[in-house]
Subunit: 384 residues, 2 copies
């Protein structure tokens, strides 16, 4: 059996372990500490820093393929692992587009993929540049760190060229953060397209989903996206498969999309299992985690057929009371069919610590079931 | 989070790990070696002998509850673990009925549960006893070791009181094996009833399945049992729930049944996740492994609702060529929706090394899909 190495010890590696167990494929993870989400459930967990070249090379030795549970492994390190003879999927060239938002925008624009208007913010005179950009595209602006953001971190909305914006930009400049700016797109809603691509070149697309965000964090995913017309859904799938192909992605590619009056625009890319795909564990014939393993192992991809008319995934965020287990009794008794996933993470207010999934025929009912379970696991009786 | 300890490192513990990961419940296993099926995929695997009292007590220390992936832990040891303050589910008193076929038969008969005619074979003059039993019930006879059997081991069919039978009984007597005899039931087919019971007393029953055996090994499970009338299905569920209740089972109880012209008869009991329940991983809203965890943790039980009109599970047995992974490509390309489960075990001819599951509407088609995948994983092109 080939050994799959996954750099990163978060919940994505943790859930990949469930799929690896089924396939009989040994999974090795590189985790920052033995207390990491994935390290708690993987027999072959190596402790180290996945940003350190030495740790990464030591980890990769003996793996048949290396993949990632996040975007933070430096590209040059990935290239060195490949040169040591262990293929990385995705490779450094493809992953660059998920690591650097400016690289991604430039490439997608060159490919003719619709994106919001954007520009690099020059480190000299950034405020004047922002003002000029706003004159063309209007306020508010979306200011982003080109690298290193996640879950709304590294993204700021500037309403005007006021003192707040000036101070923020000044602070980021001092910290050496490279910035870009984008038009604030007046979208109807956010969608996500999840596809897989294997080294052989096979592609597979999941149904398009709607993602609901609060404060930059995804709270809910509805599969399939309600009321989305077939043409737009097919367009979104084609767009994602095309991007995967053009960028040479191997493994999963999640494309976050804005649905606007004028069509679809790409927001972000991720090349790994993605929060918008957790619903596939129960809601699709092949979970995104199994699909990612199949893709990075260059096995034929699995069926993306949904298992129910609608599936709703709700993220469980940490509340004030860390004893989530105590609240299992109510959630499980209230709804014996809701599926609970907890990531083995310390509970901190607002932190993603798990998710729940409900499936069924009636979207309103399914959505209410998922929300109730997620809210209850967070708040208990408090918020009822 | 409570720690669940599972004694035994086989595939049942391995698949329990997948469910434990989702629930965020730390699973600790006691495995004979680091190469055991479950030890390969559980971070907290302790290596030891689950028949040794010292190893068992050391293992149980720090667990909130202890359960089992087989029936071979001696009852007195389980009692000592309980006396050390760690509850065992099932407890020694209940488990005795799955460990000793004579204890089981005596108890079920006392409860009025229909069983085949049976008797203990007295160690003195066993052959005369078998002859007398056959005079009453007819040949062939089923001779069983009262303890220690599994997968057809410990069960013999005697066609007549010939030299073969005399030699076998003589050999078993010499080895000190305690024997019982049963009427060979002319059954139509074999069924299995899988139920869960929690310490609180909640019960949950899965749909009744048909099990297909070859040479004492289950090769295929069809859920629900095709053509089974509703009354008989309900009777089988009631029977299993009643037995679980009467015996004080906590966790899962699998009841293997004969369907005969005159109704249902109990064949065997198992108090753990069971081969006849592997279909529930994809085919039921709550897998048997999650259900077992919920039951032993005294959490509310999960929905046993099927996720598809029919599900077929086929066991993958070892063939001549140990490189099963090489055959993944064909199986996955041929049927992107079939689910493959491999147990990380060394391949030996005839050994259960995994299973596959197919789901759908048309039983013949689903059955053919499951069989094709299982056969191909065993034989490759050879048997096509």
């Amino acid at each position: 059996m080939p050994v799959v190495g996954m750099a990163g010890g978060g919940q994505l590696a943790r859930m990949t372990q469930q799929a690896a167990i089924a396939l009989g494929v040994p999974l090795r993870v590189l985790a920052g500490s033995a207390g990491d989400s994935a390290a708690k459930v993987v027999a072959d967990a190596r402790i180290g820093d996945d940003r350190s070249l030495d740790d990464l090379l030591a980890f990769a030795k003996g793996c048949d393929v290396v993949t990632f549970d996040h975007e933070h492994v430096p590209g040059p390190h990935i290239q060195k692992v490949e040169r040591s003879g262990v293929p990385c999927r995705p490779d450094a060239a493809a992953l660059a587009h998920a690591q650097d938002k400016l690289v991604m925008r430039d490439r997608l624009s060159a490919l003719g993929v619709p994106c919001p208007a954007y520009a690099h913010v020059p480190p000299a005179a950034p405020l004047a540049f922002l003002e000029a950009f706003a004159e063309e595209h209007g306020w508010p602006l979306v200011i982003k760190a080109t690298r290193g953001g996640y879950d709304g971190k590294g993204v700021w909305i500037a309403e005007a060229l006021d003192r707040e914006t000036a101070e923020m930009v000044g602070r980021l400049r001092t910290e050496g953060v490279d910035l870009m700016v984008e038009r604030h797109v007046p979208f109807r809603r956010e969608l996500a397209a999840l596809v897989a691509r294997s080294p052989y070149g096979q592609g597979a697309a999941y149904p398009i989903v709607e993602t609901v965000q609060e404060g930059g964090i995804c709270t809910e995913v509805i599969a399939p996206a309600p009321g989305l017309d077939e043409d737009t859904a097919a367009e979104a799938q084609r767009l994602a498969l095309g991007v995967a192909d053009s960028l040479g992605v191997t493994g999963l590619l999640a494309v976050e999309l804005f649905e606007t009056r004028d069509g679809l625009l790409v927001n972000e890319l991720a090349m790994r299992p993605h929060n918008s795909g957790h619903w596939t564990i129960e809601g699709a014939r092949t979970s995104q985690f199994e699909q990612h393993l199949r893709a990075v192992l260059d096995l034929p991809l699995g069926s993306t057929e949904p298992t129910a008319p609608c599936t709703v995934m709700a993220n469980v965020l940490g509340g004030d009371d860390p004893d989530v287990y105590r609240r299992y009794i109510h959630v499980m008794a209230h709804d014996p069919a809701v599926k609970v996933h907890l990531y083995g993470k310390d509970v901190r207010p607002g932190r993603k610590i798990g998710h729940v999934t409900a499936l069924g025929r009636d979207l309103d009912e399914v959505r209410e079931r998922a929300r109730h379970a997620a809210d209850y696991l967070r708040w208990g009786e408090k918020k009822r």
